[in-house]
Symmetry: C2
Subunit: 484 residues, 2 copies
């Protein structure tokens, strides 16, 4: 097993090869400028493309050679394939007509930060392997506490702190692992644990619970009210029933802005139920959390000061290139306790001093990129002022669209139009609503997705792409008006 | 709750604001060229920096303003802070003197691909939301099967297929979740499951087992032989004992290239033990797997054709910018079964046709970047020929260093020098070895980390940074020679 070792004589006799296939800094400079130009041109002309491409399954693959290249290819051919293969097969998330799901925004400063992150190629599993990576992350997440008016307990300067994860799904899993750790340290068995959320909570909790080893019957999806927000009485009832049966409430997830309708669970009413039951309160503000850059939208986070953890995604609605999900904990000890393992090959003086954060213990993977750069660049490029301006613009545009829909006798809102999301349907029922939905998407100029609310088919218009302006929402309205 | 809705009249009366804080495509072009130049300059002059910076805990934070900016800042100030804040606090993973841990490589083509990925800002949770993202990924991972001579069963054209994850830790967790799913579908309880690996396996299995809800006593770390490879008899004995006690073997992880010493577990001997016990065989080739681009290094993967899953990291030793970990399964059904949840808001015709891959069901997070671009760009820039050349160069340089160490009476190899890793120690014992280690790192010109082998302190020299050339390994040897 392994290579035969060359002795010193053989080594000396081997000719040194001057050959290198690596891209030199000068080549990187040249091709880097070309690729940046390609991206700038793409963003400047993005409206020329249909939002969703017309490709069939397997079509993109059919454009690719069956085997990997034996010899290096000219880089010009690679760039040409961006137009030949990638663009015709891409769903354009940055298109101003992208109103599907939730936005996953990029932005100029986010792109620039990612260039630096990829160029540095530094990996911050430990403070030692990336002091700036680690400390800029901790610091910028403390800035976010200021920026969004978040509870003081989420600052790193106390017992808590923030970390950037790839997605809210991963953050929610980490919250659950910390909650599980805490509950089991108090004597509960895995078998006894129960987690709670509203029936409109994101599916990431169900996935996380499954990952964490809970059975389907250890997850309770609690009833919602007429506005699709969690009913605290229903939660309290479920918790009491579980406790009476000898089960142990472990975690409740309250949502600030559900995926289907941006409904806001009453965190302030959930908190005392969580406290009484000794369970972890995790709050998911993945999408709507960003609205709190505007003081007038902070009412949604009332009660957050009693939460154990919180997640929101700057890569959704704060113009930060995916992936950037901010996860805060009020007490970092159970999180680290749940995720820390220290093999010999990772031991180092800085970690053992206790004076540093090793972010590998705040996430499931070991390795990590310098993702804080993009949040840092975005906050500095826009300033709080710029972020507030664009969030307010999106809200204004969505509310204007909602008003138009409400005023139209053929259409109705399917839920209160909150912030930047408008859920609507045709008054004639599911068939015409679904037909309208498909007709809108078939234009290629917009892309909307659907959900079901109160068991009826509903079209969702999310106004959140950074490229979306007044004229695009006006155009969306004209299409709705024409096709209704 | 929520915003008051503006009626149509109010809307018409609102002045349209022409203000925008977004970076325009022209600004992106201008600053993009500057940032690319900054990266090219950084890489051209990287040797000027000490590999590990001399900062104290908290020092980087002290260079940052306490609160986030209210107003946008000039982007020139942001770039200036790369030199003022980031560089002095960065551990330079791409430095030619970086011999610590394992490499986490970037490269020109990898950086360029990431620019495109960030610029497109497309998110491939579903085929529908990223057909090219999805199909390029599937296709390039089939290419990797050719490139490394991997078993046919890992191709997507049969029952298996590949997916890119952020790290081997996440891939190993997914393997464990699929294995757990399969074992429990056959009637086992979570409580009964046992997972196995050698005592030298990566800590990611222990972390993954904990995440998946296994107790510490459900993980067996099996004895190794004199070369630190798993002893099949020890595994067979542990499995038999567990079965006799009514426990259920769930998964065994064999490692091709352990972290401490690149030891190779005998996959071909582990496979029949796994088969007899009905357990999942996962193979971790995170670092050494890349060596298989060279046919002469494929002996290490003998038996892989009987594995259920395999992971290796092109971001370690295949010049692909972090994060890019390739995870292959022989049968995708249990993986998807373990991770698929389909809420209404993600339903779409393409998924329901069954003709497409939705990669959200192959990973823990929901969202995902277009990471396949970097692997695609790298394979095309280097060609198989270029990758083989550089892997061979690293192996040659490491073996040359090993020969020098072996020939020196003050030093000895602590394990067979396999591929690009040299584990060595001072013949006078742990004290002098540790002193040598610290003296080497104190020069600032190299960064090595340690491990323990056979309970002795060992210095590891990993030769894998893409910038490392003959002259750097010669310089490393001169330092060792001088400081020993």
């Amino acid at each position: 097993m392994g290579c035969p070792q060359a002795g010193p004589d053989t080594v000396a006799a081997m000719p040194e090869t001057p050959m290198s296939f690596h891209m030199t800094p000068e080549e990187l400079r040249r091709w880097g400028h070309e690729v940046v130009d390609w991206v700038a041109d793409y963003l400047a002309t993005i409206e020329q493309h249909p939002v969703v491409p017309g490709v069939e399954p397997g079509e993109v693959r059919s454009w690719l050679p069956p085997a990997p290249p034996e010899k290096p290819e000219p880089f010009g051919d690679v760039i040409a394939d961006l137009d030949r293969v990638v663009i015709p097969g891409t769903t354009h998330w940055q298109h101003p007509g992208f109103h599907a799901f939730f936005p996953a925004n990029t932005s100029g400063p986010g792109i620039l930060a990612d260039i630096v992150s990829s160029g540095l190629g530094t990996q911050g599993m430990l403070w030692q392997t990336g002091p700036a990576l680690t400390e800029v992350e901790t610091h910028v997440l403390d800035w976010v506490v200021d920026l969004l008016g978040l509870p003081e307990r989420f600052r790193s300067t106390g017992d808590g702190g923030g970390v950037i994860q790839d997605s809210a799904s991963s953050a929610t899993l980490c919250a659950l692992l910390a909650a599980r750790e805490r509950a089991m340290a108090r004597g509960a068995t895995l078998d006894q644990l129960v987690v709670y959320a509203s029936a409109h909570a994101h599916s990431s909790l169900e996935k996380g619970a499954r990952v964490a080893g809970l059975r389907p019957d250890q997850l309770r999806l609690v009833d919602v009210d007429d506005d699709f927000a969690l009913r605290p009485e229903a939660l309290a009832g479920a918790v009491a029933a579980d406790q009476a049966a000898g089960r142990v409430p472990c975690l409740v997830m309250a949502t600030i802005g559900t995926t289907s309708s941006l409904a806001v669970d009453p965190v302030a009413e959930v908190a005392p139920i969580a406290e009484d039951a000794g369970m972890w309160l995790h709050v998911d503000g993945a999408m709507a959390g960003s609205a709190a850059v505007c003081p007038e939208h902070r009412d949604q986070q009332a009660g957050l000061e009693r939460a154990d953890s919180y997640v929101f995604n700057p890569h959704k609605w704060l113009f930060t290139t995916f992936d950037c999900s901010c996860f805060f904990v009020a007490d970092r000890a159970p999180l680290i306790q749940a995720l820390s393992i220290l093999p010999e090959y990772l031991r180092n003086a800085a970690s053992e001093s206790g004076a540093v954060i090793d972010y590998r213990d705040w996430q499931v993977p070991l390795g990590r990129r310098f993702r804080a750069l993009k949040l840092w660049f975005v906050l500095r490029w826009y300033g709080a002022e710029g972020l507030r301006h664009h969030v307010r613009e999106h809200v204004r545009l969505a509310q204007e669209l909602a008003a138009r829909i409400e005023a139209d006798p053929r259409l109705e809102l399917a839920a209160p139009a909150r912030l930047n999301l408008v859920c609507f349907r045709h008054v004639d029922g599911d068939g015409p609503t679904e037909a309208l939905h498909h007709a809108l998407n078939a234009t290629g100029r917009v892309y909307l997705t659907h959900t079901r609310l109160a068991d009826r088919y509903v079209v969702r218009a999310s106004i959140g792409a950074w490229t979306t302006e007044q004229r695009h929402v006006d155009a969306l309205w004209r299409l709705v008006d024409e096709l209704a």
